[in-house]
């Protein structure tokens, strides 16, 4: 071999492997969701650790002009009334009796009505929804930054995950990194009107740096936990920034 080569094959290999090792190391101290011995979930966790480690801080998702708002399909559950009587009753009363429960690792667990939520300083953002199916849509969302709500409830320093319980029987969670992102809001308005039923009335989550299905609809309870709340392997990636 040519001795004058600046980088030897061995050096290149060692440097490359050290780089990958460095990527995995921070994962040891970061709570990751269980992988159920499933190779696919291990890959999802690698993506989670890599994106949290390599991507710069709290960068903001792109925001658009009002004129760029597009058509947007409603998919998944589009009306929980069909399966949930309680939701049906609340919907008929215009969600006047609706309450959001906040509990878990917070010093002031309790409930909030829709008008309580609207008293918080609101944030309005026009963002792009990335659906897992492959389509995208731009819409305007108005709501309460989740960080305001968590601080209002006195989130404890031991807290690590925020779980959302929905009227269509779904429970999903995000880490505090996403929960405290400035664009993570509990939206009650869409395109200047009340959030329509097909899009998650009365409130839905917006997590702008993950795929659409993490922005869960029809929320009735927020549960803050210190550890990952294991819902079993749904067959879908828990973290989906990709």
């Amino acid at each position: 071999m040519n001795k004058s080569t600046l980088i030897s094959r061995r050096q290149a290999l060692v440097t490359g492997l050290a780089g990958i090792g460095g990527l995995l190391l921070p994962g040891c101290s970061r709570p990751t969701p269980p992988n159920y011995g499933n190779l696919l979930r291990m890959g999802d966790n690698l993506t989670y650790i890599a994106q949290r480690t390599l991507l710069p801080g709290q960068s903001m998702a792109k925001e658009y002009r009002f004129a760029e708002i597009s058509s947007m399909p409603a998919t998944g559950t589009t009306n929980p009334s069909r399966s949930n009587e309680n939701y049906d009753k609340l919907l008929r009363a215009g969600f006047a009796d609706w309450q959001l429960t906040i509990e878990g690792s917070v010093s002031q667990a309790g409930t909030l009505t829709l008008s309580d939520l609207k008293k918080f300083p609101a944030r309005t953002q026009i963002t792009k929804h990335h659906c897992e199916e492959g389509w995208t849509a731009i819409a305007q969302w108005t709501g309460v930054p989740l960080s305001s709500l968590l601080q209002h409830a006195g989130i404890k320093s031991s807290a690590r995950f925020v779980n959302f319980h929905t009227y269509d029987g779904w429970i999903d969670s995000i880490d505090l990194y996403d929960a405290f992102h400035p664009q993570t809001i509990l939206a009650y308005g869409m395109n200047g009107k009340d959030l329509p039923v097909p899009h998650g009335a009365p409130i839905r989550l917006r997590v702008e740096k993950q795929i659409g299905y993490k922005s869960v609809k029809y929320i009735h309870k927020i549960e803050v936990t210190d550890a990952f709340m294991d819902q079993g392997d749904s067959g879908w990636a828990w973290y989906n920034g990709i």
Binding site: L13, S59, A74, G134, A137, E208
Partner: protein, 246 residues
Amino acid sequence: MSLKNESRHSAWVRVSHGLITMSFLTLALTGIYILMVHPRLYWGEVGNDLTPAFIELPISRNYQHNGWDNKIAFFNRSDSPISASRTFDIFNENGWGRSLHFLSAWVLVITGLIYLVLGLATRHFRRRMLPEKRSASFRQLWSELVDHIRVPWSVSDGRQYNLLQRISYLAIIFVAMPLAIMTGFAMSPAIGAAFPWIVSMWGGTQSARTIHFFASIALELFLIVHLIMIILTGFKQNIKAIIVGK
């Protein structure tokens, strides 16, 4: 350095070729499954079932399914964007499809980076792939192209790549693969937020998705020609060379 004593493909080339082949086949297959969930392609930032597509592919029951009700306009004007609720039970295998796609992408990207570093460090690209000045001409390229079609078994002994091989390998390594990877990154909401230029350089998320599709078609066409040439120039010998090196 005598070519006779040198192994036809060094160990790192054989290992990375194997890993990249496996990850590429998995990416191509899961890519088709993912495309079947939404077989419509668009240009720009936005595209969905309620906006016009520029290509619609009849590759799953989701093709033009028309299962929508509850159409509402967002604004009080005739050209208002609309919403509609889906009533059709779509084909969707993205739960495992997407996760397997990204797992394979990890293998491809990490192997690809190591391959690039080693290829530069060992002068592999310069020695074996960069066209030699004396043989790089359009006339040479044309005559090789004709030979590939008329007498394919004679065009390569596999020890030295001909001009056509050199150009196509360089195009795959330095154009098609990086194009597929960068447009893949552009579709990630987290990466797009961190580095907005990765999205805007393609003209939007949906443009990136469309280019991603055509880059994968180019890679698949290359694979087909590559396989045909392997068979026509001595299947057993070629397979042995890329697995054991001799």
